[in-house]
Symmetry: C2
């Protein structure tokens, strides 16, 4: 292994890829949302390629898009993260397993327990992607008429994190003595009852499962707002960032790592991994052609609905084969409209192509040969744009196979990515410390 800074690579997965046209791509498995066997093979391929983690996208409601778009998207059905990742834990050995769980619509006792259990079952490979759930339809599935506001959701999330990590620390690492001769299973002096009573949560504890293998599962976050960045700087060990270009990535990186400096946290204790949509070809032209074909599989009806939302303007009357006309100002998100307009101009897209890009995937993308993709990843790593990426495959299994068979070896050849796992846990892979137990910082004193 070279002494170069290493890329960390997560795979951000949906069963049929995050791209809404992917299930129609030649060779795709349109039944992947129902078929665990496909997911098992994907995870095993990623593990053979030494990926840090398999990261499962999640939502707590049907995505709130117009039914004309929804009915054409494979996102309407999917596995639940804990059941899926636990099943994957049983058929993999080293890859990390990151599940999304909401601090707004679940109880900290359940969340603490489930992640601890996944960490034990997987031998220390669990990660918790903390989300506050921004989809207002989710509230209606959990008995709430109104969605909790952003500030309150973040205040609750911060307290929720304290409770969950406190519950994980219920037992000292050496609490379970299991002395068959004397009949003592655990030492009651090494058990802590949390007794939390806070502004949002009241939880007694203790957790009735031993401390996780990793101490705590790895803490992952994705919030990009002011509150989200601050929560990440205080608590996160991985941030799933979302930036369309290197400049924005570098600004975010500097901001969040700067907040860590101010808090006295080491910069190495948090890995910033933007999502990156990667399309691999033998030539740049071939990669672009693959992407264009994939985008063309986003149904026009659904695509135009996405474009209308982005523009804040009904796009159904536009000439689909013409350039994007000038759009009058509206009350819709200015940044969304400006991004759409800039994208159309930059890539010289027709209305249909722009609509299909937005309806498929329009964030950061590396589209090229293994060498050009590795060049871009290297530039992000070396200029502090990121510590690696959460890779999104354009379609499955082909897009994953291309990355694993062609891009990973190129990254390894350059000394930017591991050839073997560093250890057995997700913390080992990411180079993160095992947290001390806040209630039992030291091992038990030897008995006299």
């Amino acid at each position: 292994m070279s002494g170069r800074k290493q890329l960390k690579l997560g795979a951000f997965m949906r069963p049929a890829s995050i791209h809404t046209g992917a299930w129609r791509y030649p060779g795709a498995y349109p039944d992947a949302n129902f078929n665990f066997g496909h997911l098992k093979r994907f995870a095993q391929r990623l593990e053979a390629a030494k990926f840090d983690a398999f990261f499962m996208a999640d939502h707590l409601a049907l995505l709130n898009m117009p039914v004309e778009a929804l009915k054409r998207s494979h996102t309407a059905t999917s596995f639940e993260p804990f059941t899926l990742l636990s099943a994957l834990a049983a058929v993999t050995d080293r890859i990390g397993l990151v599940a999304t769980a909401s601090t707004t619509f679940d109880a900290p006792f359940h969340i603490a327990r489930r992640f601890a259990s996944l960490d034990h079952i997987s031998g220390g490979r669990a990660g918790w992607n903390i989300v506050t759930t921004s989809n207002p339809d989710a509230a209606l599935n959990f008995g709430l008429d109104d969605h909790m506001d952003h500030g309150e959701r973040y205040a609750r999330a911060r307290e929720f994190y304290d409770v969950v990590t406190g519950l994980w620390d219920s037992w000292a690492d050496d609490a379970f003595v299991r002395d068959q001769d004397s009949g003592l299973y655990f030492d009651p002096a090494r058990l802590h009852v949390l007794g939390h009573k806070g502004a949002h949560l009241s939880v007694r504890g203790p957790l009735h499962i031993a401390r996780p293998v990793q101490g705590w599962p790895v803490i992952v976050q994705a919030g990009a707002s002011e509150a989200g960045r601050q929560l990440a700087a205080e608590t996160a060990e991985v941030v799933f960032a979302a930036h369309g270009h290197l400049e924005g990535g570098r600004a975010f990186y500097a901001d969040v790592k700067g907040r860590m400096d101010a808090l006295g946290r080491s910069r190495d204790d948090l890995k910033i991994l933007p999502g990156a949509f990667v399309v691999v070809g033998e030539t740049v032209e071939e990669a672009r052609a693959k992407r264009a074909h994939l985008d063309s599989l986003v149904h026009e009806e659904s695509a135009i609905a996405s474009l209308s939302i982005a523009l804040g303007h009904d796009a159904s009357g536009f000439d689909p084969d013409g350039p994007l006309p000038d759009i009058p100002e509206t009350n819709a998100s200015k940044s969304g409209r400006e991004r759409a307009i800039a994208l159309a101009r930059r890539e010289n897209l027709t209305v249909r192509q722009l609509a299909q890009r937005l309806g498929g995937y329009a964030g950061l993308a590396f589209v090229g040969t293994p060498a050009t993709i590795a060049d871009e990843m290297e530039e992000w790593l070396e200029t502090e744009g990121s510590d690696g990426f959460n890779v999104m495959f354009p379609y499955l299994p082909g897009g994953l196979d291309d990355f694993v068979d062609k891009v990973v070896p190129e990254l390894q050849r350059r000394g930017l990515f591991r050839r073997e796992y560093e250890g057995t846990t997700l913390r080992d892979s990411l180079g993160l410390k095992r947290p001390a137990n806040r209630f039992f910082p030291e091992p038990a004193a030897p008995q006299a």
Copy 2:
């Protein structure tokens, strides 16, 4: 296969057995609560023996027993059911996977989604053990100062069941057309939005996962109270009963199946499976000696605490090697005291032996040779005491191996138990119908 009525067999499991002394038994795995590999081998052995289901015991708090007892019991730590059973789903093919989930301390949207996901991952092997959670300590882990009273818990449970089954029916079985050519992933006319608003719950839906493979996962219950029996007669497909003797089992069987008659449900649509603790020996004497040794491993301090609770009287002053003295009447549960006294008299137990029996396992037990155990099971089956059993192994792995290697072949030889699975799902094994979708009872009409 003979035409005889068949026994249904579940395995009611804790990682180190339900007996609190089991972790100390010769050959036991004291680390089983932390070691998924053991559980995987247990499940695979049970599947090779054609068990109907692997049923995971569960609680939502540390068991509320005195710390002197608790510290000696392996029940202080365990895997969470969904993570464990999902992992087992990936390493088994036919055995059912029954998870306990509480209607008092969880949200119906989460429960519906997780069981649907487990059912998809396992190819139709999930079962939901509906519990209302009677441990008052659980409330304190979920932000409630007072435990919900019994009647309110059951009223909520009934509504919760309606919501969960309604969410499972969100999608017609043929909703997901996945037509790659036209780009239609699902037919919106085959999607139902539940829109439930009831006395206890408000849940919009739809569930964002396809209808479970089994239509609905198998509904399991264990309540023995008046409200519990009625809920079972209305909704359950398996009842986990608890009776110390055949007479009580037959009365319960007649009562619950009679309630089904009154409701117009077929008796075959519900299987009554009492828990049965089975200790196998080459001779009856050897089996009894194994049990006596196992009971002797319940630590005396913990055992006397259990006895005091059962008697409603401090037993710590009694001569442990003497017979049970006369106990004055108290306010404690009369039935518990009477059961303890009757047990001591029937088996001529010393105070210590009685205490260790109560601290270990004191319910229905079959202790004998494969032939005497099969005789007892056959009698229960043929006299309408039960439709089978939830077997509890006294210690692991030895107690499980004894049952699988010796009792199962004897049951098969008598034509009382399958030699091959009847199909691929838990419903196939149990002989239960796949429920119709209440919103889409018929397949979609063919398009003109």
